[in-house]
Symmetry: C2
Subunit: 94 residues, 2 copies
Amino acid sequence: MFKELNPLLHSELRLAIISLLIAVDSADFSYLREKTAASAGNLSVQIEKLRIAGYITVQKGYRGKIPQTTCKITAEGILALEAYIEALKTYITL
Amino acid sequence: MFKELNPLLHSELRLAIISLLIAVDSADFSYLREKTAASAGNLSVQIEKLRIAGYITVQKGYRGKIPQTTCKITAEGILALEAYIEALKTYITL
DNA sequence: AAAATTTGGTTTATTTTATAAACTACTTTA
DNA sequence: TAAAGTAGTTTATAAAATAAACCAAATTTT
């Protein structure tokens, strides 16, 4: 009947992050913050959850002397999003 | 950029309930329980939330001597679902 | 040059939400 | 008549999202 909605993706902010990363392939913390309008704390927490799940990679480096965190979606992340969308289709007609 | 995902609908069980009610127009508690495979407690709580939001009506009656709760989606509920789907489309390409 | 502000975050605490467990009440079956 | 099933509600617990507080370095303001 209904397929399970991956709880890691079934979250407004995490879905937004994944959605942005699908489009740009690589994005830093500030970019994600601008686009999602999330608080830094919330964004930091949700990025970490996606990283632990293996859906994104996170590289902490420096741009000059300013710290810079860069995120990229992984192949696993792309597959997870595709599966999530398929599951959604068991609930709604898109 | 991203539209807000109505938190009342952005819940696996509540979305399933609304999805079922869109299709059948009227359904009792047991039917929803069968189709969603949710626990009675969880189903009861989520039905009540949808009722308070005005997305469904809930009629408590009897089938013979056995209590029977019947749910129907409201016009408001249908609109909310449509808006939710539109909002989802700002996150994913369906 | 000291103080305040901004950037780029992390950690911790609070609130909200979902879920599960326990309970009520009545009915049917063994 | 005792046990089990139906149809739920209420309450407690677990998990999640969000916000608040904080840290460190750099930049700007006075």
